[in-house]
Symmetry: C2
């Protein structure tokens, strides 16, 4: 727990907080929507939690340029409420409740990344306050720039460890005029994953391509009182600016699914039904937690080149099915990214050890397959131990050089992203070499 | 001029060169295709030019994952020759002759960025050798990752000043199955620029959207012996996976052009004719230099939010038309980026001053409009003077912290990107505060 919580209303107030904290050597932990899942918000040295709930305004909107400037405490759901009336949206969809500052910090993505990319592709510029209180404007509002080092992408994904975001300029997108959703089940993970791969290879424009394993369909059936076939299932969204382009894409996807043995597809064309389908998918975690109210969830987040996804999920599923812990799978299959939602009892050491074993099995397999330990959730404290294996000495050294240069006092969200040890003399956290 | 040129064949040889240079305090200047245009390759302190012409192999290709790993000396034209037989391409198209290492370093883009993005969006991972000889693998081969600071995007655009790229993994794309090109002329810059804006706002998928001013059409007519109307002209490419989607997009674009007073359009559907149209566009600079063999060209590269492009080109064109120097305009209009190609006589101080005046007029206007001094060519030495105005103190400070941390000896492409002064005692270049 932090020692104190402050709720600034302006960049200037953030600067004042940061200067005071720096002077008094108080750790600072920015706090957005609190939906992050790797211990990002923990305060191992106590310190000051900087809560952004008051900084939730939309500062400007340009329909012409398809961009918007917001304060970091604004939620993406609230932003989309506002954009809807202009026919626009910000498509990235992490946990409901997430704030745009937290989303920048974790470099999140979600089900639409296959079409729109991640935060790295959708942030034009930010204002960031450094540990010494200096304000940094990371970029202009131009769509592209080669004017020096890319500070925007350096701070996106830095999880509050390099600076505090006080303003964000985002690309926004037109809501597609036409959109269908397709649901199709398969006899194997392999057939489903290969269908997604075929779709990408064919250059078909898809809005989403999500995979549920049989266990997850079971969970969703129970939670939503539906009776879908309890087998590996793909959910596609196909969208575009003309009915013809959507129909072409849909036909092409269904033909590819059929080739891989896909069952009778269900096509949703009315907006209501599409929304409901994606709501159920988005709330998968909560459906699961509803079934096991006494357990907690450890969510894995590996991501591999798409061609390896089928193999990785296949191997993982053999381990998961053999385990006594319930652990359904959802995948952003078009990105090669999947989550196993491992349910365990934190008070039972055997459960904790088993959840850890499963998670670390998947990470090591993913790294063998040229993947990453985290496709979108970030490092926090949970993934620190895997970074050296993933990145190697040179990259870890480079990250430490950057951290030391920008936060010499180690006060910005201490103990996250990079490995630290506690100095026995001062009690402070020091970067490991 | 550098003192020595080395041509390594492997990453290991680059490491050996770098270690030797670091030990002996010799500046290192990586050398790719030499098409950069801001003095990127100058050797103000002499030193060692590292020529990548021998490191031009394709190391691996994955059609399934749409990615390829290459050595940095490979040209993008050569890469595309190889990819063609697989139905794939790497769409970014800077100066013919450019190498993929140089393209990473400059964060280049070109006419297809409106569809495929810039190098920042298309590099998955790189191997980089740091000043001390350490090798850095910047990322995995996964499509997305939140595993720590984004080193890939830090080195993309760093112009050889932070490290030397020895291997690059790139996203590649399917060559669209269907593709048309459209040429349409307008009575004003404003009508043409607004047409592009309307097209983007409508969410129409375009492959390219380039603008030529009347002077540039004149130049191209002379060089290619054509008789196009000498007025502001838009060139669109519309491409997709079905004839229907291309036809829909084309219809929509032509309707928007007509609304803005566009003339009778010319539509090219056969591949030969399309290729010829884009070849003429790509070789605009050389056509111009052919007409003025005794002059040199200063190319500007400002980029602004798309809504400001028409205003900026309009104001710029008034200055350019009033000047005695020939200066036609080409624009990557879909990105808000344009180049004035200012022809001048380097031996005539009045010419140099006038070219400088025009260039700096455009930069200052672009910065007033929330744009950047360089959309794609990079900083080199030519744009250093504009960076503080564009970025402000905080960002300049952050860039210097990174440069000092990763290149404490100041040996990596010295004097580029950031302002330096010469130390009168040692003769070396030192970062300005
Ligand atoms: C049900 C559920 C589903 C999810 N689905 C997805 C998904 O599909 N894709 C995905 O990517 N993620 C997903 N997530 C994870 C989570 O939603 C994302 O990581 C999200 O980006 C976190 O945003 P937040 O505002 O909640 O951040 P917080 O949890 O408040 O903070 C996250 C990190 O950002 C830092 N931070 C917050 N604000 C700032 C600021 N202003 N300046 C600097 N640093 C700041 C914090 O210090 C912390 O390190 C899911 C989570 C849940 C619970
Ligand atoms: C006719 C013409 C048209 C052009 N059109 C465009 C355009 O449309 N869009 C666009 O973006 N640009 C354009 N350019 C500019 C130019 O082509 C690009 O900047 C290109 O990216 C430079 O690549 P190069 O291999 O020629 O780099 P070089 O000129 O060899 O080097 C450029 C920089 O990269 C560094 N570098 C080279 N190799 C490495 C390496 N292996 N590791 C680290 N650093 C390295 C060099 O030190 C230097 O700082 C054009 C240029 C010309 C002449």
């Amino acid at each position: 727990m932090p020692d104190v919580v402050v709720s600034p209303a302006t960049t200037q107030e953030v600067v004042a907080v940061v200067k005071t904290c720096s002077k008094m050597q108080v750790p600072m932990i920015p706090y957005g929507g609190a939906t992050s899942i790797e211990g990002h918000l923990l305060a191992p040295l106590g310190g000051c939690s900087i809560d952004f709930s008051r900084m939730n305004a939309v500062k400007r909107l340009s329909k012409e340029d398809h961009d918007v400037t917001v304060q970091p405490g604004l939620g993406y759901l609230e932003l989309n409420e506002m954009l809807k009336e202009h026919g626009m949206w910000f498509p990235l969809d992490p946990g409901p409740g997430a704030s745009l500052g937290g989303m920048c910090s974790c470099s999140c993505s979600g089900s639409t990344a296959v079409r729109y990319g991640t935060m790295k592709d959708n942030v034009l510029s930010m204002t960031v306050v450094l540990a010494d209180g200096q304000e940094v404007k990371t970029s202009s509002r131009a769509k592209k720039s080669s004017a020096g080092y890319d500070l925007t992408r350096l701070f996106v994904g830095s999880e509050g460890t390099l600076g505090i975001i006080t303003e964000v300029t985002l690309k926004i997108h037109k809501i597609p005029a036409y959109s269908n959703s397709v649901r199709v089940s398969f006899d194997s993970i392999d057939a489903a994953a290969k269908t997604v791969q075929d779709t990408l290879a064919a250059g078909i424009q898809i809005g989403r391509a999500e995979l549920l394993d049989d266990t997850m369909v079971q969970v969703l059936n129970k939670a939503n009182n539906t009776r879908h076939r309890e087998a590996t299932t793909l959910l596609f969204e196909l969208s575009g600016e003309s009915p013809g382009s959507v129909a072409d894409a849909q036909r092409a996807v269904l033909a590819l699914a059929k080739k891989r043995g896909g069952g009778k597809p269900h096509v949703a064309t009315n907006p209501e039904e599409c929304r409901e389908l994606w709501r159920q998918r988005k709330e998968a975690l909560w459906s699961l937690m509803g079934l096991y109210p006494e357990l907690e969830c450890m969510t894995t987040d590996v991501c591999v080149p798409v061609s390896r996804l089928s193999d990785l999920i296949g191997q993982s599923k053999r381990e998961l099915d053999a385990s006594r812990l319930p652990a359904p799978i959802v995948a952003h299959a078009g990105d090669g990214n999947f989550h196993a939602l491992i349910m365990f009892d934190r008070t039972n050491p055997a459960d904790v050890a088993e959840a850890d074993r499963l998670s670390s099995f998947m990470v090591h397999k993913a790294l063998e397959m040229e993947g990453t330990c985290t496709g979108e959730h970030g490092v926090g404290v949970g993934k620190i131990k895997y970074l050296p294996e993933e990145h190697g000495d040179g990259a870890m050294h480079t990250m430490r050089v950057i951290k030391r240069g920008l936060d010499p006092g180690g006060l910005m969200n201490p103990g996250k992203v990079l490995a630290h040890r506690r100095d026995p003399q001062t009690g402070r956290l020091v970067l490991c070499a």
